[in-house]
């Protein structure tokens, strides 16, 4: 019997030791990593951008999950809208090298930076919850909702290269600069983009 009691004691001690040793101490490394990332944002910043095209897009944000042996279920479907603007960031334009006028001053060649997404606006007032269901669950909190919308915003941002907005911005840049420089007295206006330089 004594042996059994001793065995039990040892077993208990071993379990407690295991729990203590399994990383219950504070995670100093993690804390230092968290402290390292401090973002610096200027309140007022100078920009040099020409917005050339605006896309109004819509997206359905849907999510569902089940917890506690799939007994606690919840599902949500939201409709949201976003406004994307694309154009040229002129800070990448060097007037000395990127604007070239021929000697007789009739032809101008403009080599612009490639169009980029300048802004994405996803107003909360244009988000609607179309469907929401919760079984044995509290449902979606505002924190959850915001997280889902963040993911929706992220998906829209990542889809920009496939949306065609950058191609449209390129086309509109030509439509914007060609008449402008013709109006300024040039008979031939060539608008190129930085990547096109090799092709030209």
């Amino acid at each position: 019997m004594r042996k059994t009691i001793q065995l039990s004691k040892w077993l208990l001690a071993a379990v407690l030791l295991m729990l203590t040793a399994s990383g219950c101490g504070p995670d100093f490394g993690n804390k230092s990593r968290k402290a390292a990332a401090i973002e610096k944002i200027e309140k007022i910043k100078s920009e040099k951008q020409i917005g050339l095209v605006e896309y109004e897009v819509s997206k359905i944000v849907k999510a569902q999950d089940a917890r506690f042996f799939k007994l606690k279920k919840r599902a949500i479907i939201c409709a949201c809208k976003a406004y994307l603007k694309a154009g040229i960031d002129l800070s990448g334009l060097n007037p000395m090298t990127d604007i070239v006028i021929d000697p007789d001053e009739t032809m101008i060649t403009l080599t612009l930076p490639k169009p980029t997404l300048l802004s994405l606006n996803m107003p909360i007032n244009e988000v609607d919850v179309l469907y929401e269901k919760a079984t044995l669950s509290k449902g979606f909190t505002v924190t959850d909702l915001n997280e889902l919308l963040r993911q929706g915003e992220d998906q829209i941002r990542k889809s920009v290269p496939e949306l065609g907005i950058l191609k449209d911005a390129e086309l509109n840049a030509r439509l914007f600069f060609e008449p402008l420089f013709r109006h300024l007295g040039f008979t031939t206006v060539v608008v190129l983009f930085k990547e096109d330089e090799t092709k030209a």
Partner: protein
């Protein structure tokens, strides 16, 4: 008989001890896990499956050609604290269902705690510049022989005011809140940041200066030696050169 009873007793004691050991192990593991979860010393939350949205298509509803010269941007953040309580208007139940009618009453921020509370850290971003689409041909005067050009620009304005979900940080949420209440909570944050932005004369001054610099640089690069940029809102906004002949 005695031997059998003793053996039975020993067996019972052993079984009881085994059960006690199992219970002790269970309590130790459970207790340890609970303590670790409560104190947050173990990254237990990371094992929880994150809520993710499904991949859905993005529909392009409208495409608009614009011409906007953005020369300054403004960033700001504010904290919104909203407290509310549910006031019972009519209490009742029908066929086991709760038919109580309540209404949500906003209460001042500094009133007693223990109510529904929502704390947001709200960031916003505004883009300031000129809507070039409103420029007319009469706003541009050219004297080619003198290599002189004058342009009258519309005044700078806020072209975009952006408060995206990634700009919203729900710092604390106590009680029951929904999307409509979140929208209501965010409205004063927008008002406050817009007010600060409109009050910031430096911002609009910087945006005007930026627009003047960009236009001057562009026109100078096109060969014009004298470039004059005026804003329609300025007192002496008249252009001296004659209008361009059509």
């Amino acid at each position: 008989m005695n031997i059998t009873t003793q053996a039975m007793k020993a067996l019972l004691v052993n079984v009881l001890l085994a059960l006690a050991t199992a219970a002790a192990v269970f309590i130790a593991i459970g207790g340890g896990w609970a303590v670790a979860k409560y104190t947050g010393i173990l990254p237990l939350k990371k094992t929880k499956k994150a809520l993710t949205i499904d991949n859905t298509p993005i529909t392009v509803e409208q495409v608009k050609t614009i011409g906007e010269l953005v020369t300054a941007s403004f960033y700001d953040e504010t904290v919104v604290i909203v407290k509310q309580k549910r006031e019972v208007l009519k209490k009742g139940s029908k066929k086991g269902k709760d038919t109580t009618i309540t209404r949500i009453v906003r209460i001042p921020e500094k009133e007693a705690t223990g109510q529904d509370e929502l704390v947001l850290v709200q960031n916003a971003h505004a883009r300031i510049g000129i809507d070039l689409a409103s420029l007319s041909k009469d706003d541009l005067r050219i004297n080619k022989s003198a290599k002189a050009i004058e342009i009258k620009l519309p005044d700078v304005k806020c072209l975009d005011f952006i408060m995206n979900p990634t700009d919203t940080d729900v710092f604390s949420e106590k009680g029951t809140w929904d999307l409509d209440q979140l929208k209501l909570a965010m409205a004063p944050a927008r008002q406050e940041i817009e007010y600060k932005m409109n009050k910031d004369t430096m911002l609009f001054k910087k945006a005007r200066k930026g627009a003047e610099d960009v236009i001057t640089q562009l026109l100078s690069s096109a060969g014009y030696e004298t470039v004059k940029v005026v804003f329609a809102s300025a007192k002496n906004a008249e252009l001296k050169l004659p209008p361009v002949e059509q």
